[in-house]
């Protein structure tokens, strides 16, 4: 079964999402075993991909422009060139080999959506600051940032189809299902959670596991005793020449969802490129 990671980006006025996807793809190539390191990129204009120093990190480049920004991720089942896929948010970095997670998913799951996240100190996130719509509407706590699925799965097909329908009709679904707290935007997380709830498949696709472990760097969920607008006001982001990441003085071993897009600058890219060239 052909497995790979899927990254979906589109052109944005202020954020270079291709650069973020490139950093993530480099980090995947630098850390994952052969057979677990395939990366497909979906992008609305593939011209700039050819300008990257190591564009080979993208094993597949698919030009597709039907949706903008993150909405494109809800089409992941139709866009992926792989039999089994993990679709990722692009503002993340891999810090070690996670192929054993994939072995588990391939053997046991048709569809699995991350349902926990972690602080940079490795604590499970319990703060509900960004999840009010989930709690008040009794939605499962899904994070679309790490979604595993098999292409031939009927359950996955139904799940993504309904998710797309929710994203296309946010007002109707909010008025019917999110009455206790209406989110400002019905994003992919809300759509996936609602889709799982309506289809009654939460226990099949989001049962408790100790992985995938993703450190979620939204600032208000870091268990700090003060409010924070940006996590980088309080702790540093350090990536050494081996591509190892520290946040503050905590070495990171999980996937780092760094959130602040400016963390990936030319120097970070250069570090990751150098490692990939030596491998």
């Amino acid at each position: 079964m052909k497995f790979g990671y899927l990254l979906v980006v589109s052109t944005h006025d202020t954020v270079d999402y291709l650069k973020l996807a490139y950093a993530l793809a480099l980090s995947i190539k630098n850390t994952q075993k052969t057979g677990y390191d395939q990366v497909a990129l979906v992008i609305d204009d593939k011209t700039p991909v050819g300008e990257l120093a190591s564009s080979w990190v993208f094993d597949h480049v698919i030009e597709w422009n039907q949706e903008t920004y993150w909405d494109g991720r809800s089409w992941m089942d139709q866009l992926s060139p792989f039999d089994a896929t993990v679709c990722l948010d692009v503002d993340m970095l891999f810090t070690r080999d996670y192929s054993h997670w994939i072995d588990y998913f391939l053997e046991n799951c048709e569809l699995y959506v991350a349902n926990k996240s972690y602080t940079y100190r490795g604590e499970v996130v319990t703060d509900l600051h960004y999840r009010k719509a989930f709690i008040r509407n009794n939605l499962p706590n899904l994070y679309s940032m790490y979604t595993f699925f098999k292409k031939d799965s009927e359950m996955a097909k139904d799940f993504f189809e309904l998710g797309r329908h929710i994203i296309k009709n946010p007002v109707e679904f909010s008025n019917l299902f999110l009455t206790n707290y209406k989110p400002r935007v019905v994003g992919t997380d809300e759509a996936f959670a609602l889709s799982a709830k309506i289809l009654d498949i939460v226990n099949d696709i989001a049962y408790p596991l100790e992985f995938p472990k993703v450190v979620h760097m939204k600032p208000m969920i870091q268990n700090w005793p003060w409010p924070a607008e940006a996590w980088s006001d309080h702790i540093g982001f350090y990536i050494n020449k081996k591509g190892e990441v520290k946040l503050g003085n905590f070495q990171q071993h999980s996937i780092v969802h760094y959130v602040e897009k400016d963390k990936i600058n030319n120097e970070v890219i250069h570090i990751l490129e150098e490692i990939s060239w030596k491998n």
Partner: protein, 209 residues
């Protein structure tokens, strides 16, 4: 008799308004007095629209109202959540490699590392009465009139590349020593390192030769 719209059609098209939240503040001190929905403050003069998430966090007690101020200098009038915040980048600032600092055209502080001689030289810009010449396009340079305590000491942490948690050594320079001259440190013998400092100057760069 007026015909009522079909309920399902109404529900499908109904779009509730997002609630708007306001903060009432003291114009003299910027202190936030109260936060609530728009209709609660119809008669208040000094109020500003604030972000829903921040408003709800204040109302729920996750952000202390006592630590909120309105910044009158910001045109957007945002809530500054915490007074006297010290960002980590101010107290532990990584001096940027010139190779990646194209946006810093006029550095205030310039460090150069000579890998052959194993020396590290610290200079101030000529704009700050130092010795580092600015590029031709900024000539002639008009010195800035800056008043500071010349005994102020700048500490530089020489660390593992991009990791201040691994400290190799620390060196110090007084600002007075950089007026009209540079300071050179010898025997700085590391294959790859970074330099961190407290951010006394805004624009600091290091060149590795």
């Amino acid at each position: 008799m007026e015909k009522l719209m079909d309920f399902d059609e109404w529900l499908a098209n109904y779009k509730p308004q997002d609630p708007e939240y306001f903060a009432v503040f003291d114009p003299q001190t910027g202190e936030v007095k109260s936060v609530g929905p728009k209709h609660a403050f119809e008669n208040e003069k000094n109020k500003i629209l604030i972000d829903r998430e921040i408003a709800e966090a204040i109302i729920e007690g996750n952000i202390k109202i006592g630590s909120c101020v309105i910044d009158p200098t910001a045109n957007s009038l945002e809530i500054a959540e915490v007074k006297n915040i010290h960002k980590i980048d101010d107290v532990l600032h990584r001096i940027q490699d010139v190779a990646y600092a194209a946006d810093i055209e006029k550095p205030d502080l310039y460090i150069s590392y000579d890998a052959n001689q194993k020396t590290l030289t610290v200079e101030l810009s000529e704009e700050l009465e130092g010795t580092k010449k600015l590029p031709e396009k900024f000539q002639p340079v008009k010195p800035k009139k800056v008043v500071w305590d010349g005994d102020t000491e700048m500490d530089f942490l020489i660390t593992e590349y991009n990791d201040p948690n691994v400290l190799f050594e620390m060196i110090s320079v007084k600002i007075n020593e950089l007026k009209g001259s540079s300071v050179t440190f010898e025997n700085i013998d590391y294959s790859r390192f970074s330099v961190y400092t407290r951010r006394i100057f805004k624009n600091c760069v290091i060149e590795y030769k």
